[in-house]
């Protein structure tokens, strides 16, 4: 799904404190299936921008079009339905329900949609299988390693077959081996399903899985370019698919072409 942000602003107004202008006029267009890494120092507005993209927060100004829809004009309930239908989330701290078993965590997004229970359960098991954790279906998060928990979270994000996957520091809490495993998985599944990924990261190795790296500073985009040095471990990309015209001409072709 095509993503189009124009002049997005987000100002927080904490009571009794000065307003915080977290995002100050961002224009960004992301093509379907594109993988974008947001980089920048802490507090630069990455997470806020991701939240706006994921419909978890409303911009205070600007236009956000997701596909053909102006999603910034949707009601809270419509936004919730849109999240349930089209958007998957992967967080730095996994954000699994601590008391629910893995399969129930994975099935959670489907409970907001009118599938039958049998279909749901099958889909949950398939999703767990896809992240290699079918054998952990009946474990609760505390019984799993960080990497396993993040893979459960990926299964949960992908079970709705989203068109957009939002990942906020997906490898931030993981050692490099687990991080790589998680990123392989994420990009592999997203790749085969044509899912657009927008992720925030500090880690260049993680950012290297993206087709495009956007740097932010003080709430604005500063640079927009393909990864400087494509990781050797990158899976065969969809470079040919990503070759369409882009608003950002610094990115004429897939990074694999480089």
């Amino acid at each position: 799904m095509q993503i189009e942000l124009s002049d997005i602003h987000k100002t927080y107004r904490p009571s009794g404190e000065a307003p915080v202008r977290a995002v100050r006029g961002v224009d960004l267009r992301i093509r379907p299936g594109e993988r974008v890494a947001l980089m920048g120092p802490s507090g630069c507005g990455k997470t806020t921008l991701l939240s706006i993209l994921g419909l978890l927060a409303r911009p205070t100004g600007g236009l956000y079009r997701l596909g053909e829809t102006d999603v910034s004009a949707l009601s809270r309930t419509e936004q919730a339905r849109c999240r349930a239908r089209s958007i998957g989330f992967v967080f730095q701290s996994y954000n699994l329900l601590p008391r629910e078993r893995a399969w129930r965590n994975v099935v959670l997004p489907l409970t907001f949609r009118p599938d039958t229970r049998r279909v749901r359960r099958e889909k949950a098991m398939q999703a767990l299988d896809a992240v290699g954790l079918a054998h952990r279906a009946r474990h609760v998060p505390a019984q799993m390693s960080g990497g396993e928990q993040q893979r459960v979270a990926i299964a949960r994000a992908l079970i709705v077959e989203p068109s957009l996957l939002i990942a906020d520091e997906p490898t931030g809490n993981l050692d490099s081996a687990s991080g790589r495993q998680v990123m392989e998985l994420l990009s592999g599944i997203a790749n085969s399903n044509g899912i657009t990924i927008v992720m925030a990261t500090h880690d260049p190795a993680t950012a290297a899985y993206a087709d495009r790296i956007v740097h932010m500073r003080d709430g604005v985009l500063v640079t927009d370019s393909p990864p400087a040095s494509p990781a050797a471990s990158r899976p065969p990309g969809r470079a040919s698919e990503a070759g369409g015209p882009s608003r950002q001409d610094t990115y004429p072709n897939g990074p694999q072409a480089g």
């Binding site: 927060a57 919730a80 989330f89 409970t111 907001f112």
Partner: protein, 446 residues
């Protein structure tokens, strides 16, 4: 949100923080327990009274003249209350009867029953004409006197002058011999029917029919013994001595009677009849105040019971309502804590697609389920309490039949409904708080 998934999450949630939750629903438990036990005890008593009245005779209306004579007055001061009746005043006989009743009374209850008779045969005839819909209009005369078995020690007893219909309308049954027959009255025979206890007192248990007793200077043949019946409308039927009205009038020299037993057709009819009786009789007897008559009616007894216990019920319901209110506030508090503790979880739900309505429904469900749990425990408590209270009442009344609490399904449904309502109301505010959370802020909540 999917019902089954939600149910699983809710049950898991109920299982955590069990002590906290139990404490918060204590008020619901006590409230529903109080409601259930009160309703069950009252209902049990109502059924018992209904059964009792059924035994005594259905649809009986009893008109009694309760004009207050000054009991302390000398017999000479006794005057027939102001009356428009055209009838001879049997002054001497009346004085004698009154004197004797004052002398012999002294047992409080019995004495109160025996007022000098004031209703004339005309009055009875008037009632028969005025209320053709009544199945029976049977005069009743009461007379306290000394009686004794032949060659025995005299005892005080209540004589009742009655008619054959008096047995029908009151459902008196004879255990041995027979009741009064029309010929007993037309011939003014000296026969009598004894209440069960009186028969035993006078003659012992066996072969009472055919024996004789002396009363009012004459000998009377016992022709029948009544089945034990118990008390009703201040009479102890088991201690009665029933005689033909005509014979009793002849021996006492009185033509007046104390009351009238009226049998109505159907339950509602008794209440109607009772109302009309007062309207019709008061002007005729030229009385000013309705309380100069007492009109008893079984439906009315039932009403009185409901009225008396209504107060009790209101009190208990007030206690229950209060404890439910307090409990509701406690549950609201616990729910607010629960919402705060689970803010991050709510954020996760919202991120993966829960709408405000889903979150609202979940927390309303949680508080209602909590309250229904309280309601269930309360019903159990109520069943236990009901049995205990009924046992205490039955013990205090020395009732061998026992006072059994009656638990109707409506009571249980009412309790559950109330508990659910408390859950709904106390959960509403916390649920709204949860539903209104911004997804991003909820996710970031530490």
């Amino acid at each position: 949100m999917d019902a089954l998934y939600t149910a699983g999450a809710l049950l898991r949630e109920l299982n955590t923080n069990r002590l906290r939750r139990l404490l918060s629903i204590l008020g619901v438990i006590i409230g529903t327990g109080a409601v259930i036990s009160t309703l069950a005890v009252v209902e049990g008593g109502r059924r018992q009274l209904a059964a009792h009245l059924e035994k005594l005779g259905v649809n009986l209306v009893y008109l009694e003249d309760t004009y207050e004579h000054d009991a302390a007055a000398e017999p000479g001061d006794l005057e027939r209350p102001g009356t428009a009746l055209n009838m001879p005043v049997e002054e001497e006989a009346l004085k004698a009867a009154f004197k004797e009743s004052v002398m012999l009374g002294g047992h409080g209850l019995e004495r109160a029953v025996v007022r000098p008779p004031t209703l004339a045969p005309d009055d009875i005839a008037f009632l028969r004409r005025r209320f053709p819909e009544a199945e029976h209009v049977e005069p009743q005369m009461l007379h306290w006197t000394r009686i004794g078995p032949v060659a025995g020690k005299p005892i005080g007893a209540l004589l009742e002058g009655s008619t054959p219909g008096g047995a029908v309308v009151r459902r008196l049954r004879v255990a041995a011999g027979r009741y009064l027959c029309p010929l007993d009255l037309t011939d003014a025979r000296r026969v009598c029917v004894l209440g069960a206890a009186m028969a035993g007192k006078l003659f012992g248990a066996t072969d009472v029919v055919g024996r004789e007793l002396s009363a009012l200077g004459a000998r009377w043949t016992v022709v029948g013994v009544l089945e034990p019946k118990g008390s009703m409308m201040r009479f102890d039927y088991d201690k009665l001595i029933v005689m033909p009205l005509t014979t009793l009038q002849e021996r006492t020299g009185l033509s007046l009677v104390n009351g009238v037993l009226i049998g109505a057709r159907g339950t509602g009819a008794a209440l109607r009849l009772r109302r009309d009786l007062l309207d019709a009789v008061l002007p005729r007897l030229n009385r000013r105040k309705p309380d100069e008559f007492q009109v008893f009616c079984q439906d009315e007894l039932m009403e009185q019971y409901e009225e008396t216990l209504g107060t009790f019920k209101i009190l208990m319901v007030a206690i229950a309502a209060f404890s439910l209110l307090v409990s509701g506030i406690g549950i609201m508090n616990i729910m607010l804590v629960s919402v705060r503790e689970r803010t991050r979880e709510i954020g996760i739900w919202k991120a993966v697609g829960a709408a405000d309505g889903d979150v609202l429904a979940y927390f309303l469900g949680e508080s209602m389920l909590t309250c229904l749990l309280g309601g269930t425990l309360g019903v159990l408590l109520g069943v236990f309490l009901g049995a205990q209270v009924s046992g205490i009442i039955a013990g205090a009344m020395a009732e061998t039949s026992g006072w059994v609490p009656v638990f109707r399904i409506e009571f249980v449904l009412l309790s559950f409904g109330t508990a659910a309502l408390v859950g709904l109301l106390s959960g509403l505010f916390p649920a709204v708080v949860a539903a209104r959370l911004e997804p991003l802020e909820a996710l970031r909540y530490e």
